[in-house]
């Protein structure tokens, strides 16, 4: 198979474990879990604590996975912050306000995500404008359109939807009264994206794209289509989270979703994805998401001031970037020693 260095499973020296990009992230995860387990006590370590942070992790995790792929490919997507409410408002208006069947509204909401993703990807692939700027632009455009259409069609900034029992069961219930079904969907996304990045040939294309776009194109990789596909995946995932939130809380608001922009980027960076592109792993992103969510929820179990949670996240983020750099330096040292 490929020789780009992603599957050298044959070697298993200590150096190789340390060299894995997610090792630093895993150390961080163990640290925060232990910290909050001590402060939070048995409730945090038991099912209520686990379900609490897993519910948070599932939603931000679904958004973070494709964001991670984009960052590995050297791009950003800010527009997820307004795709989430756009999708849930679309579904709520179609099914809640106009009374069509819930699956039709859901398809409409997911379609909005794919469309915004296509526009993002097309603009990033065809222009020289940085993706940060393009997706900030589409974020504001989508936000304005959502508000405008909501007021025009419904005359309100929040619309409710009471879905049929089956749809509600699949997308918005709590298993055992506390585990949101969203975490099973998250597991599904993890499996698919793990396959995409680490098993299918597309994974190598994504790494190559993040390494050097020009050489990737010269090597015959369809960079434009790949970029568009990645953005559509990101739009789809964000739209999916919008649908999950709509069915869980039975109402959609125009102003939800903004926290997901930075939260998803933080999960990805804590998970060891290189901000400049070219390196990262799905396992790392999952670890980063878990770490982020444990800090976010652990703070409420610990009795500390919730604002301390933000300080924690900030420090973790910086520590992650620093340790990534440290591990990379170590990697380079180890590999030069070998050759």
């Amino acid at each position: 198979m490929s020789t780009t260095g992603r599957d050298q499973k044959t070697q298993s020296s200590l150096g190789n474990i340390v060299r894995r990009p997610e090792t630093g992230s895993f150390v961080g995860l163990v640290f925060v879990f232990t910290f909050f387990a001590i402060l939070g006590g048995p409730i945090f370590v038991g099912a209520p604590g686990w379900s609490s942070w897993l519910n948070i992790a599932a939603e931000v995790g679904i958004v973070a996975l494709p964001i991670g792929l984009l960052m590995i490919a050297g791009e950003l997507d800010i527009s997820v912050g307004s795709v989430i409410p756009a999708s849930s408002m679309t579904a709520a208006i179609v099914s809640g306000h106009f009374g069509l069947a819930a699956p039709i509204g859901i398809l409409g909401g997911l379609g909005v995500g794919l469309l915004v993703g296509f526009i993002n990807g097309y603009l990033v692939a065809k222009t020289k404008i940085p993706s940060l700027i393009i997706t900030i632009g589409t974020m504001f455009a989508v936000m304005g359109l959502t508000l405008g259409f909501a007021v025009l069609l419904v005359g309100s900034t929040s619309v409710s939807l009471v879905a049929d029992p089956l749809t509600k069961k699949l997308l918005g219930t709590f298993v055992g009264g506390m585990f949101n079904v969203s975490m099973f969907w998250w597991a599904g996304f993890v499996a698919i994206i793990f396959y995409l990045l680490h098993i299918s040939p597309i994974g190598n294309w994504i790494f190559a794209l993040g390494g050097d776009r020009e050489s990737a194109r010269n090597a015959g990789i369809p960079t434009a289509n790949l970029t568009i596909g990645l953005y559509m995946l990101s739009g789809f995932a964000a739209a999916f989270v919008g649908i999950l939130q709509l069915l869980t809380y039975t109402s959609a608001q125009v102003a939800s979703g903004q926290p997901f922009i930075f939260n998803s980027i933080m999960c990805v960076v804590i998970g060891g994805v290189l901000l400049t592109g070219g390196a990262g792993s799905v396992v790392g992103i999952v670890i980063g998401t878990a770490t982020f969510s444990i800090v976010n929820q652990g703070i409420f179990f610990s009795g500390l001031d919730p604002n301390m949670g933000s300080i924690f996240i900030g420090v973790l983020l910086l520590a992650a970037v620093l340790s990534n750099d440290g591990f990379r330096a170590l990697t380079i040292k180890l590999s030069t020693k070998k050759s």
Binding site: I43, S160, F174, G177, M178, T248, S251, Q253, F300, F301
Partner: protein, 322 residues
């Protein structure tokens, strides 16, 4: 010839208008956009009160901005427009005092009776020389929620604050805690980090964790439809549905459904319909008969919606008044 005709017609219309003014009260109401759901209820109240004014030969004219981008100056412009159109009485909200106070002062200087409603409070009415203030007060709305849950036998409350630092949210929460304290309980505030604002899952999980960690809490208060729905979900996930009761500010159809189903104890409404209705009535009666309302600060809220009156509220929603 044609021009002359037009001029003659205009003169006639103007004459008719001033004749009407001599008979009834032409009341101008400055408010929000007519397609804003809250303001459409206020407008309906003003127009319903206006039916009496019309029967007496007067009229009610609604002046609202096209959008809220430049609210203070736009609203000040509408106030001046009302003076120019020969208003006999003016109703207006003091949204942005710096921009709007000079225009309100011009109303009083022109000898036109003025009522402040919706925003500004009695302080604004006194400062500007207006007859009265008609509206709700954030602190008292929170107080009503605390009092309601306290009276229902709840002893330990928490107010969910997703925007720490926002003055109106703090007023709601202080009111809630004081209302609960008056009924013999104690209240606290659950402060959420800014990263949670607008994220229903983050709010629900924070509520749930807080309840698990503080099992003595048996009452909660949330501000706005979204936070209230999330709080209800958080309570259910903590396995405390039925033992922890929740009241919230404002309502929509999903909140009303929750009240019917019993998952939410009450919703606090500032009753916009009443704001339009009473502000116009006070002025119409004053202009026509010189009668006054000596009660200063006419509170239109808080109105409490619970299982006992939710059916009536749903009827009111269908009629467009709530």
């Amino acid at each position: 010839m044609k021009l002359l005709n037009v001029l003659a017609t205009t003169a006639l219309v103007t004459a008719a208008a001033s004749m009407a003014a001599a008979e009834g009260a032409n009341i101008f109401v400055i408010g929000g956009k007519p397609d804003d759901p809250f303001w459409s209820r206020v407008k309906m109240g003003a127009e319903d009160a206006g039916k009496v004014a019309e029967a007496q030969g007067g009229s009610v004219t609604w002046l609202g901005p096209q959008n809220y981008d430049n609210l203070g100056p736009d609203a000040a412009e509408l106030i001046r427009q009302a003076i120019d159109q020969g208003a006999d009485a003016i109703v207006g909200p003091d949204w942005v005092p710096e921009a709007m106070d000079p225009a309100f002062e011009a109303v009083v200087a022109a000898g036109i009776p003025l009522v402040i409603y919706n925003a500004g409070g009695l302080e604004a009415a006194d400062r500007l020389g207006a007859m009265n203030y008609v509206g709700a007060v954030d602190y008292k709305s929170g107080y009503a929620g605390g009092e309601y849950l306290g009276a229902a036998g709840h002893k330990n409350g928490a107010c969910v604050n997703t925007l720490p630092g926002a003055a109106n949210i703090e007023a709601f929460c202080n009111g809630f805690n004081d209302g609960l304290a008056a009924a013999g309980g104690t209240g606290s505030v659950l402060q959420l980090p800014a990263t949670a604002f607008g994220d229903a899952t983050a709010v629900a999980q924070a509520v749930r964790a807080h309840l698990l960690q503080n099992p003595e809490i048996d009452a909660m208060f949330a501000i706005g439809d979204g936070d209230t729905n999330a709080t209800v979900s958080g309570i259910q996930q903590a396995g405390k549905a039925g033992s922890v009761h929740v009241c919230g500010m404002n309502f929509n159809d999903s909140i009303l459904a929750n009240i019917q189903a019993g998952t939410q104890a009450c919703a606090i409404d500032q009753q916009g319909y009443q704001q339009g209705f009473f502000a116009v009535s006070i002025l119409n009666n004053f202009v026509n008969y010189g009668v006054t309302i000596p009660t200063r600060e006419i509170l239109t809220g808080p109105g409490v919606i619970d299982a006992s009156n939710v059916a009536l509220v749903i009827e009111g929603v269908k009629a467009g008044a709530r």
